[in-house]
């Protein structure tokens, strides 16, 4: 790409930063502008539900290190509000208009707040960004009661952190098992037991009818009428792609910005790509199934891949190995691949009783995924093998 070009990134976080870094590493010398609606430089989100809440890590330590020669014009505290594809222009809430030659969309996701009465009460929290984490951390006082709506990874991580801080914790979910979507019922059952041993109460297959309180939340009312006392509530029921600003753009929005196999946005004319939590693309290693991932390693890799696709003459399909980790209490959970609900699970190292094991998920074609708890050493080998299998399925090589 010639040097007088302007590369604009919207979303100043992991995927966006990785995009800018990859351009520089590839020798791109033109202008790069990065737009972010938060008023701070890119920072790392995973600690926000873990060591930041317990105080084991100072919140200032989450900033990503930035190379001195990155050469980025930052537009921070400035939300993008519109995109005009024909004019190649992004407009910002502060009135600025940025004309781009290439555009990388990396606006991530926003937490979903269900339409539950009382959701505006003080003490009802969500957790996605720095400001949320500061607020939540300030409310985690020992002895208080925290009710968590949603037994996904964020909910379970906050439950673990809050128990370590000495709060009473109850998790409520419509589903039967925590973290079920990723692990399957057998493994999810193990994690429920671990949380229960640590003192967490579960109300599974329960619906929340209302948050109770005057000005400030004091309880969570379940559909049957029972009220669980609460000094604070965390709503962690999932996230939605942050695409409201693209609504009238002409891009295809369907559970994210729809892209081709190389992360180039549909209707973007080869000049727009998307990466990270906001991007949906057909994964050629999985029969072109359209995927959208909300995991760190994907945002890290896809940010670079999508940016490079925009300056390449022959963009390559993006073929990541799905990968995820979570830390709860002393348990380090790592998951690779894409197991299906009816895959067989076999423990191949360690054992469930000691909570230190590697389990393979298998179907008739072979290993579909791996779950490891407190056995990180084995994961690098699987990462290599499963990654190679994906590339082979996609390219036949």
């Amino acid at each position: 790409m010639p040097e007088d070009q302007h590369f604009v990134v919207v979303g100043a976080s992991l995927a966006g930063l990785r995009g800018a870094e990859a351009l520089r590493a590839a020798g791109y010398k033109g202008r790069i502008s990065v737009v972010g609606d938060e008023d701070r430089l890119p920072y790392n989100r995973p600690p926000l539900s873990k060591k930041i809440l317990t105080g084991e890590q100072a919140i200032e330590e989450v900033s990503f290190p930035l190379a001195d020669d990155l050469g980025v014009d930052w537009h921070l505290g400035a939300a993008a509000t519109g995109l005009d594809i024909a004019a190649q222009r992004v407009t910002l809430a502060n009135g600025t208009a940025l004309v781009y030659d290439r555009l990388l969309i990396a606006t991530g996701v926003s937490p979903i707040m269900p339409q539950i009465p009382g959701r505006d009460l003080d003490g009802v929290h969500v957790l996605r960004d720095f400001a949320h984490a500061v607020k939540l951390r300030g409310a985690l006082t020992p002895g208080r009661s925290l009710v968590i709506l949603g037994a996904g990874f964020i909910g379970c991580e906050v439950a673990a952190s809050a128990r370590q801080m000495g709060l009473n914790v109850t998790i409520v979910d419509r589903l039967a098992w925590p973290m079920n979507r990723v692990m399957g019922p057998e493994m999810a059952g193990l994690f429920r037991t671990i949380h229960e041993e640590q003192g967490v109460s579960f109300r599974m297959e329960a619906a929340v009818a209302a948050f109770r309180g005057e000005g400030k939340v004091t309880g969570v009312e379940l559909a049957g009428g029972e009220v669980i006392p609460a000094d604070l509530v965390l709503v962690g029921v999932g996230s939605a792609p942050a695409t409201a600003w693209l609504r009238d753009s002409g891009l295809v929005l369907q559970n994210g910005v729809v892209c081709d196999a190389a992360c180039l946005a549909a209707n973007g004319g080869g000049k727009i790509a998307a990466a990270g939590d906001v991007a949906a693309w057909p994964h050629l290693g999985y029969g072109a199934e359209v995927m959208r991932m909300e995991h760190w390693t994907n945002a890290f890799e896809q940010g670079a891949a999508a940016a490079l696709a925009l300056i390449s003459d022959a963009p390559e399909p993006y073929l990541p190995l799905p990968s995820f980790w979570s830390d709860q209490y002393s348990y380090k959970i790592q998951a690779l691949g894409r197991p299906k609900v009816d895959d067989r699970i076999e423990v191949v190292a360690g054992d469930l009783e000691s909570r230190k094991f590697v389990a393979e998920y298998r179907d008739d074609a072979g290993v579909t995924g791996v779950l490891s708890v407190n056995m990180p050493a084995r994961i690098a080998g699987y990462r290599r093998d499963l990654g190679a299998a994906i590339r082979q399925r996609a390219t036949g090589l």
């Binding site: 407190n374 056995m375 994961i379 690098a380």
Partner: protein, 61 residues
């Protein structure tokens, strides 16, 4: 020489570094061990590993 330091109070042993730079980082049992000094020619790989650490635990000088 390239100097490597891992802040073990931040490391969660997820092994991104081991995957990217297996010559410099490896697991021994459940411990992460790493070379504290490596030749300049390996700088690019070590810096890639540091970038890929989700805990921002690896410092490279």
């Amino acid at each position: 020489m390239v100097k490597i330091h891992v802040d073990m109070s931040l490391c969660e042993f997820h092994g991104q570094c081991v995957f990217i730079a297996p010559k410099e980082f490896r697991f021994e049992g459940d411990d992460l061990v790493y070379s504290e000094e490596v030749d300049e020619e390996h700088r690019a790989r070590v810096e890639r590993a540091a970038k890929a650490c989700p805990q921002l635990a690896i410092k490279v000088e």
